[in-house]
């Protein structure tokens, strides 16, 4: 066992973990943060995406011991981390309003990847959005409404909201 200290969604934790424990399993099984999901065995799907010291990573492809001393943000921490306690993060809200999901399995990872993208590029083009979330696979939506949700969130976060009508969400 190796002892680690991490901050997850604003709370500090100290735990002994087996070195082989993947970060995603530590989050889900030790901390009960089941909002972060596992969708594959090959590091391809991105469903497990969280932020490690502010950068998106696939938490199934990081050992929990590697997060020692780091700050982790999961989908469960984004709504309060922007200061408006309890309110949805603009990207969460946009996925809801633009119907950016069907089964919802990819959604936590899509949102975490999109937040990371918008931090680096606040007004991405459609192509930049598609490339920016290429590490996240969705088996349901065909990506159209996901892209629209990211566009709406980008507008809202930069102060020029584009309505559902102009972006043409399809229910």
């Amino acid at each position: 066992m190796t002892s680690i200290n991490v901050r997850v969604d604003g709370m500090s934790y100290s735990d002994d973990v087996e070195p082989r424990t993947l970060l995603v399993h530590y989050l889900r099984e030790t901390l009960g943060k089941v909002g972060t999901v596992v969708g594959c065995d090959t590091s391809n799907c991105g469903a497990c995406t969280v932020h490690l010291d502010g950068e998106s990573v696939k938490s199934c492809t990081v050992f929990a011991v590697q997060a020692d001393g780091c700050e982790v943000t999961t989908i469960e921490g984004v709504s309060s981390s922007d200061g408006t306690d309890g309110a949805l993060h603009p990207v969460q809200k946009a996925f809801h309003e633009m119907h950016g999901l069907q089964c919802g399995f990819c959604t936590p990872g899509m949102i975490m990847a999109s937040i990371d993208l918008l931090k680096e590029n606040p007004s991405p083009s459609e192509t930049e959005i598609r490339e920016g979330i290429e590490g996240n696979l969705c088996r349901c939506t065909g990506y159209q409404n996901i892209v629209r949700a990211v566009q709406q969130a980008a507008g809202e976060m930069s102060g020029s909201p584009a309505g559902a009508d102009t972006l043409g969400a399809q229910a």
């Binding site: 190796t2 070195p19 424990t21 590091s43 991105g46 990573v57 199934c60 492809t61 011991v65 590697q66």
Partner: protein
């Protein structure tokens, strides 16, 4: 799946890392970004006895200048390579190729040195390192040695790194003169890995191509140089016709495999097309 149990060491210096490797038993694996190693450990295709994690060895991170060379620390992440101003200035080909590697999440963790040490034939950076005549600085119990790219890539997933050794940094000669560069990659949308890709650096002089260096990705078990095309381009006119003619020999001396993505003869075709495009773009056409 969950990897098999292993002992874990987290050194903070290269010397400590070498010691941890030496003391780690029969089967020691170095962990860099983990973006190739953790997936194979999850599938239990690798089950090392000891894992030596380099993530806290800060001396292995970052890019600096040393005279005529650019020195890239093995643990510099793909994301840091893409935004590094020195790489943009002296070796933009590296940044261009690195931008095509995987996705944002993988680029945040995966490292330049890890991708080269892994030496996947479909990996994008080995061919770039080969095209730029990079040198690999390797540390072992008996000190350091430097291996040219041409000798570093030995076979499928096999490099000149010996047991107990560590890749410390990669030295890339700064290119002076009128160089243009281009990485042309052909892949499927849902899979970033190259089916074939071509890295080209071209120096122009008075409307002619003075020199071309061309590295090929996934045209054999190791990255290769397109020597016949390079020879045909030396001194050639910088015209679409001359480049197209030279690119026809891009598959000479290659031995591409056939797999789910492409048959060997298709790869031989692709490499000619991509070489023409990469050289044309690098020559400013």
């Amino acid at each position: 799946m969950i990897p098999a149990p292993f002992a874990y060491a987290r050194p903070t210096t290269v010397d400590e890392a070498l010691q941890a490797i030496a003391e780690g038993g029969e089967d020691v694996k170095i962990l860099a970004g983990g973006q190739s190693l953790i997936p194979v450990m999850r599938l239990r295709l690798a089950a090392p006895e000891t894992v030596v994690d380099l993530s806290k060895v800060s001396e292995l991170r970052g890019v600096r200048e040393d005279g005529d060379s650019l020195v890239i620390g093995a643990m510099t992440t793909h994301a840091d390579v893409v935004r590094d101003p020195l790489i943009q200035q002296y070796a933009p080909l590296i940044a261009e190729a690195t931008e095509t590697v995987a996705d944002r999440q993988v680029r945040h963790r995966g490292t330049f040195g890890g991708a080269l040490a892994h030496a996947d034939p479909a990996g994008d950076l080995p061919a770039v390192a080969l095209a730029l005549d990079a040198e690999f600085v390797i540390a072992g119990q008996n000190g350091r040695r430097t291996v040219p790219a041409a000798d570093f890539f030995v076979d499928y997933l096999t490099t000149a790194l010996e047991e107990g050794e560590l890749l410390v940094e990669i030295r890339v000669p700064k290119l002076t003169g009128q160089w243009g560069m281009r990485y042309e990659k052909f892949n499927r949308v849902a899979q970033a890995w190259s089916i074939v890709a071509v890295a080209a650096a071209v120096r122009r002089e008075d409307g002619h191509i003075a020199e071309a260096r061309i590295g090929l990705t996934n045209m054999g078990p190791t990255p290769l140089r397109a020597r016949a095309t390079e020879a045909a381009l030396a001194g050639a006119a910088a015209t679409p016709e001359a480049i197209a003619e030279a690119a026809r020999s891009a598959a000479e001396g290659t031995s591409p495999s056939s797999d789910l993505n492409a048959q060997a003869d298709y790869r031989e075709h692709l490499v000619q097309v991509l070489t023409r495009r990469a050289v044309s773009a690098a020559a400013g056409l």
